[in-house]
Subunit: 237 residues, 4 copies
Amino acid sequence: MDDRGLRELACGANRELARLGLATLAFGNVSVVDRAAGVVAIKASGVACGDLEPDDVALVSLADGTAADPGRRASSDTPTHLELYRAFAGTGAVIHIHSPYATSWAQAARPIPPLGTTHADHFRGPVPVTRELDRDEIAGDYEAATGRVIVERFADGPDPLDVPAVLVASHGAFIWGTDATSALDNAVALEHVAAIACHQAALGPLEPIPAELRDRHFDRKHGPTAYYGQPARVRTP
Amino acid sequence: MDDRGLRELACGANRELARLGLATLAFGNVSVVDRAAGVVAIKASGVACGDLEPDDVALVSLADGTAADPGRRASSDTPTHLELYRAFAGTGAVIHIHSPYATSWAQAARPIPPLGTTHADHFRGPVPVTRELDRDEIAGDYEAATGRVIVERFADGPDPLDVPAVLVASHGAFIWGTDATSALDNAVALEHVAAIACHQAALGPLEPIPAELRDRHFDRKHGPTAYYGQPARVRTP
Amino acid sequence: MDDRGLRELACGANRELARLGLATLAFGNVSVVDRAAGVVAIKASGVACGDLEPDDVALVSLADGTAADPGRRASSDTPTHLELYRAFAGTGAVIHIHSPYATSWAQAARPIPPLGTTHADHFRGPVPVTRELDRDEIAGDYEAATGRVIVERFADGPDPLDVPAVLVASHGAFIWGTDATSALDNAVALEHVAAIACHQAALGPLEPIPAELRDRHFDRKHGPTAYYGQPARVRTP
Amino acid sequence: MDDRGLRELACGANRELARLGLATLAFGNVSVVDRAAGVVAIKASGVACGDLEPDDVALVSLADGTAADPGRRASSDTPTHLELYRAFAGTGAVIHIHSPYATSWAQAARPIPPLGTTHADHFRGPVPVTRELDRDEIAGDYEAATGRVIVERFADGPDPLDVPAVLVASHGAFIWGTDATSALDNAVALEHVAAIACHQAALGPLEPIPAELRDRHFDRKHGPTAYYGQPARVRTP
């Protein structure tokens, strides 16, 4: 894909994030990667998602984060996105949001348990929460350190394509997918299950569903024997 | 009704479900039945309700679930819908949703008590919750088993046309009606009463209303002496 | 005002109620009265507020509730509206809603305390809750009895124009005003303060504001020395 | 800026407040100041923000609050706005809202702790709450007294441009900024963090984030070494 196409793809995904109600003010951004070209396209810093034009998309090097063209300054969260692309093979798009319900779980530093099949349709197991950054990480290259604590959280599992979202403690959520469409779907699903779980907290204790139900739902959509969706719609792992 | 008419009816009902805000992503589907022809029309699997076109509606046999034409693959929830049509005479449409408030009650595995007349206007008594599926049911023909635990729940009452909704534990809600319009009304009513009940939970214990008030409200809309609505609008039981 | 004008006024007010998000399904109705003519115009039974046309407005006699013309059947809640017009002088419009937050307070049978100046700007003191109807009242002329328990609740105060709303236990809210515009404003205010109070319940105990602050806010909008609004906008008590 | 320009600026900001869903009924107003001319432009009293026309903007003297032209009567909250402009140098716009979540904190008389980076991006530390007004303040020049308890609250810090919002106990929120755009952004941010914090309250105790994380986020947007946004976008303190 040429630079223009990559900009338009990233622009459309950021505007869709705003349209979905997931990006208030300039909180929230979407990036997409062209792994063959080694380029990441991401929202420019300080621009509201809903107002984005293709020229408000910054292109940076996947390898070292340097600007790939003399355009707008990239989102300050870019180093976090880059850490995720480098560590999570198969990821084609990354999203960052401060949506009301997912962020309430992130601020509470609580993983979201798999409380129902809505969750299991998208995430095989809890949506995990990172540890808090330490004082040196906050004072240093803070945004890259944010990416590193996410990667660290997945080091011993789960597979990031089985649980394509994470809560950063005290902060918000990062979500990813094989492409922009699946990442946006996962972001909608995350906020939806975070909201259901918040409402449920008013009704009693939060008990995870059995592992076999969790796996049945995840596998009917994503496993090798998936039977959800139309035959042509095959997941590219 | 010919196949085209049935497709258009099902398509319109699925689009209305999305417009009502009850179907996020591809969570949610509506089916309608033509009992004379023995055909059920249901949303194709993996297609968002709001984007549905008549060609995205699958037709299947009410008797055995086989495809009634070589169209799109039917929703993976189709076997659940079929179980309900076979067991619940008089049902003309079935809806499945993962809406935020009804699903919080389903995940909590709590029936929604009749806490007010809004509830009683649509449901004569609590909206029940199914038992959890066992390991074999989850591993086997899971979606048909989901339908069977719903039917099991109504075996000793209530009459499914008096309580046209159920919560499937750990999952979401199924709703039905004599036709697509009444099923959609019941789905809106279910999410509305689930939300009121959730808000009420913050204010104190949840006490059901007296049976005589519950029956008065249900009967003024649905009983043999109903006096709600216009004279021409008679409920077809 | 002639019949056509009264129908159009009632129709517009019912449509506005739907546009404001306060009338889900056919839950909710607005009536207006022409006291000189002794006629009340109200939504026809079973018609959704948002779809109302002037011909869907029923005209009934204020004195005895009989149909004032051979039009549509009036809302089943009409006898409640009539009781309020007869008892509360100066009331020009009455609204009934089952909105999510106000109804959660009604179902909990808790009056909404004056917790802030938003409340005090519209209601001088708590929004009261009626007693539950007894078995005979439910079995008899239920809707008129609903009106009578509301009137009973105001018999020893407050002045219904100082507190133009009530919660009917286990049911929903009735709201009124000197005209349709003020009644609609009061309905919006009621749902707004009910929502704030529900959110506040998560943060600690609910303490009413001091009486002098409550009165200062009410009087700056509604009292004889009101200084809120433009000079031409005088309240007609 | 001439009077017409000032009216149009204030009008647009009030309409934007309504469009953002932050001003229900006539609750809420925005003012802007022209410090060189000594004039404040504010919404006329009793007019809904969303319907405002430039002629519905009142111009008053910053020095003494007298009408600067024979137009509409200014919002009854004008004396509060004036107190803030006089005490908080660098403030170019002031907003007052009764939004559902921020007001629930104000009514609970609880400051909003910095629970996450969404908060820290806009407010360096808790959003404070004023003391309650005493009986004499309520009986006297109430609106000016409201401004004075806000100013009193900031007398020993924080810097009002570092924490550009306050909760008035039992009342609602006031928000400000260097210009109308930044004040509107701060108002959106306040309601957003108030909502997240309310949801979080259902999940466990509310623990503030570490001071170093709070400062890192505030400084990357607002400090002398800010690296958020585009180079041309410099904050005018």
